[in-house]
């Protein structure tokens, strides 16, 4: 594994550079290349996890052979491994789904190139151990996603892309500005080194003021509630696999992961040392849960509904990190995993419905369970997982977050979180009832089941959601707990990187 870490970035990059060349030879070659890269990445991330789970220490890869403060290091610890796993686990089915989905679009190789770049960017963010490098990879993923959102080049898609780009770039520049100030103060960019320097300086007001713009940037990327306005439009306009990636992975890697990495490991914050900050996270998490849930319920368009649901679910993740004790952070990380898989699944399934029926409004289509059972049941099972019905993955994340809230004696938070999982179920049931079962007002919409490749992608994600739920124990012990350990150890991260 020690030598394989850069491949998480190099492979998709090579794919991205090769796809335009191969596209000139034969169209099918692009499909094959992209999917091959996706599959290899899944294998690699699973291998990496196994490697870490069997007791090997985290990998610190020194780019170009330079020692940490001088060169750029890649850090592949348990947290990175989890995030990389999430990325590729959703990325591969999304790529599979794309093969037939793109039949209706032009510009196939451009799509694959951008998708590969998106993957490279997110993997790069996950394994980067350097502030500026992280920013660069955030930008790669972000720019690729802007272009992908506007991929259809219809008026509304372009608008959504522009709006998303405006918001996203403001966030990116805020992050860069913060990094600049950090550099001016600490004169280093390596996260580990920087955290040691910061630890020596103590929590002066300066500390918080520098953290501020960065948090705003991450909040925009993760679509936390005051900054969520880009998300529904972008998710609505993007091609389905891209919506799945954006919603399932993008906002978590670029927003949540980057934030917790910086907050816990670089700034060395923990609930015990900075209760006010964590209470603020809890507050924002709750606001996101509530606002996202309530907005989702009022939607007529089922993709928009899913987009608002994402806002709400990100609120859960934030809430978990904000509560900040063992169970809550485990729950938040588990929810990252569970939500990535299920929301990816839901977006794929809903776009599969749209593709076969041509409508995205609830109430204009109905009775689809009969004509497209696999899509329907994928959607239903995904909804169950998202709402937190055992034995799916979503249940355990909800349980752990509630456990964390109760253990922190935040009873009302626990009850609110629990109640809003009913709201989640409520808005998803709205879709399920009217689109898949009800025949009110509309005849069962004539539709054929999607092509097998798309079904395969969806079934894969259903199986994952189920497997993560039934096998939550191994997932918890081998994947999530070590990742939470990384966050808890805080500044030990620096010793690990610099000592290694």
């Amino acid at each position: 594994m020690d030598r394989l870490v850069p491949l998480f970035v190099v492979l998709p990059l090579a794919g991205a550079f090769l796809v335009p060349l191969l596209a000139k030879l034969w169209r099918g070659l692009t499909d094959i290349t992209a999917n091959l890269v996706g599959a290899v990445l899944v294998g690699l991330s699973v291998y990496g996890l196994v490697h870490l789970a069997t007791g090997s220490p985290a990998v610190v890869y020194k780019m170009g052979g330079w020692m940490p403060p001088l060169g750029i290091t890649l850090v592949y610890d348990s947290l990175s491994a989890l995030v990389v796993l999430i990325t590729n686990l959703v990325g591969f089915p999304a790529l599979l789904f794309s093969v037939r989905y793109l039949d209706k679009f032009t510009g196939r190789w451009r799509y694959y190139t951008l998708f590969m770049l998106l993957l490279a960017g997110m993997n790069g963010v996950a394994i980067s151990g350097d502030m500026f490098n992280m920013f660069v990879f955030i930008e790669i993923a972000a720019i690729a996603s802007y272009a992908l959102v506007a991929f259809g080049t219809e008026a509304e898609e372009l608008e959504a892309g522009f709006k998303y780009m405006v918001m996203g770039e403001i966030g990116g520049l805020a992050i860069l500005f913060s990094i600049a100030m950090l550099y001016a103060k600490t004169s280093t960019l390596n996260m580990a080194d920087m955290s040691q320097v910061l630890a020596r300086m103590g929590q002066t007001p300066w500390f918080w003021l520098v953290l501020g713009p960065m948090l705003v940037g991450f909040a925009i990327k993760m679509a936390m509630v005051p900054f969520h306005s880009w998300l529904p439009d972008a998710h609505l306009s993007a091609p389905a696999p891209v919506s799945a990636m954006l919603s399932g992975v993008f906002i978590k890697v670029l927003g949540v992961y980057a934030m917790v990495r910086v907050v816990f490991n670089v700034f060395g914050l923990a609930r015990a040392t900075a209760p006010a900050f964590f209470n603020m996270l809890v507050g924002f998490g709750l606001v996101s849960i509530i606002a996202g849930g309530l907005l989702a319920i009022t939607q007529k368009n089922y993709k928009r509904l899913l987009a608002y649901s994402t806002v709400s679910q990100v609120g859960y993740i934030l809430l978990g990190f904000g509560i900040g004790n063992h169970w809550a952070i485990v729950g938040a990380l588990f929810h990252m995993l569970a939500h990535a898989v299920t929301k990816g699944l839901l977006f794929l399934a809903s776009r599969s419905v749209e593709r076969q029926t041509g409508s995205r409004e609830i109430g204009t289509i109905g009775g689809l369970e009969k004509s497209m059972p696999i899509t329907a049941w994928s959607y239903i099972l995904g909804s169950m997982s998202l709402a937190g019905v055992p034995p799916f993955a979503g249940f355990f994340s909800k349980l752990f977050i509630i456990l964390g809230a109760v253990a922190a004696k935040m009873y009302w938070v626990a009850i609110l979180a629990a109640l809003f999982s009913t709201v989640t179920l409520g808005y998803l049931l709205k879709v399920i009832n009217s689109v898949f079962f009800s025949r009110k007002g509309v005849e069962p919409t004539p539709a054929k089941e999607s092509p097998p490749m798309m079904l395969l992608a969806m079934v894969m994600l259903v199986v994952l959601a189920f497997a993560f739920g039934v096998g939550f124990k191994p997932v918890l012990d081998w994947v999530v707990r070590p990742a939470a350990e990384v966050l808890f150890s805080g500044l030990a991260y620096a010793r690990m990187v610099l000592g290694g």
Partner: protein, 471 residues
Amino acid sequence: MTGLVAAVILVPIVLGILLLILRRLSPWARNLIAVLGSAATLGLAIVLWVTAGPGSHNLWLMGVLGAAPVPLLMVDGIGLLLVVLFSFVWLLVTIYSLSYMKDYPFQDDYYGFLLVMLGSMVGFCLSQNLLMIYLFWEVAGMATWRLVAFYRNDREIRAATKTLFMTFTGSVLMLVGFAGIFVEHQTLNVNSLAGSGISIWASLLILVGMITKSASLPFYIWLPDAHTAAPSPMSALLSGIIAKIGLIAYLRIFIQSQVVLPSWWPLLVAGLGVGGSLLAAGCALRVKDYKRVLAFSTVSQLGYIFIGFAFAEGFGLMAGVIYLVAHCLAKAGLFMAMGIVERTTHKRNIDELSGLAHSMPVTAVSCAVLMLSIIGLPPLLGFFGKFYVILAAVKGNLVIATGGIIAAVMTVLYMLRVYRMFTGEPREGITGRDSGVMTTVVVVLAAASLVLGFLFPYLSRFLDQGIVAAL
């Protein structure tokens, strides 16, 4: 033993999922799998009974939440009794469905979910771990959702959504309560809570979950809608078995675990029970739809069982369990009998029907037996349950006992009101018909109520052993 327990849970679930996945089976194969699945569960349950006997056996399956393995499932007397009883009723319902559901589409869904629900009920009855209780609870709830909405018309979908929504809300609140228990005691096993207290808010949240599922006072409103919307065999299961989930959970979490409860706790639970009982009985006297009357009656009788469980010391617990068994048999039978009536007359209003006894005598007679069991006439099983519940209530609190007696009287009234459709002169153009298989099933259930009534001493001794061994 572990394998047997796993089998009795997994066989129906796997077969059910198989049915759901392999749509387009020939009807013959599908029916065969459905019946075989229930029969196999019953068989395995009986084998389990014979090999295990009353008494408790811990089963150490995979460990959860912690380094040491935690017992997840446990075979004890009550669990065994309920498993055998439920799978027996289930088999009858499945056989009944073969002819009742003959003409409907989506039968793969129906039988598939029926089996999944059976498996999760069996698992639920054997669970001693909060996590497993919640797991099976929710799986059963999801299957209920699909089965209530089986006809897929607007009304049924709305009723099913309401059902799911309310019970889910209750259960997530219960989950918060479970989280409270776990945080306080670092355990999810109900048997290791003995002698310690649960904080009040956690117990109240758990109680909320139970009374939403078992449809008691503040949260009963989903139940009548669900019963009227569901296909009759499903109503039978819903009323007879699914609605008992909350009660069984109460039994496990608050009684069997021997947690220390505050002194006002029995009054609260019994008060809710008797209140629900009276209110629902009042509703049952007003509505016209006979399935709805029976649904309200279910709410009312569930209230009774809550009273029994509330005053669990002494014989209240046993009374509650006996009434649970009696009600399960009788109400399942009644709903299926009403299904026959509905099927043959296509009417659901009490006032439009009369004199059906002439055209469907067997059904009428067995219906009478079942109703009497619920009314509580000796020597039927229901009598013992009701009698002991009221006895326990008298020992506990006189006001509640009075309420219980009033509710019992009201039960007589609304049952007679329903039974009017069998008596009197037959109406023009409305004739019922006994139909072979379906009527047989009802008769079997009526007979079971009768026979168990006669066998009451044996039953009570078995229960005594079972419960005492478990506690």
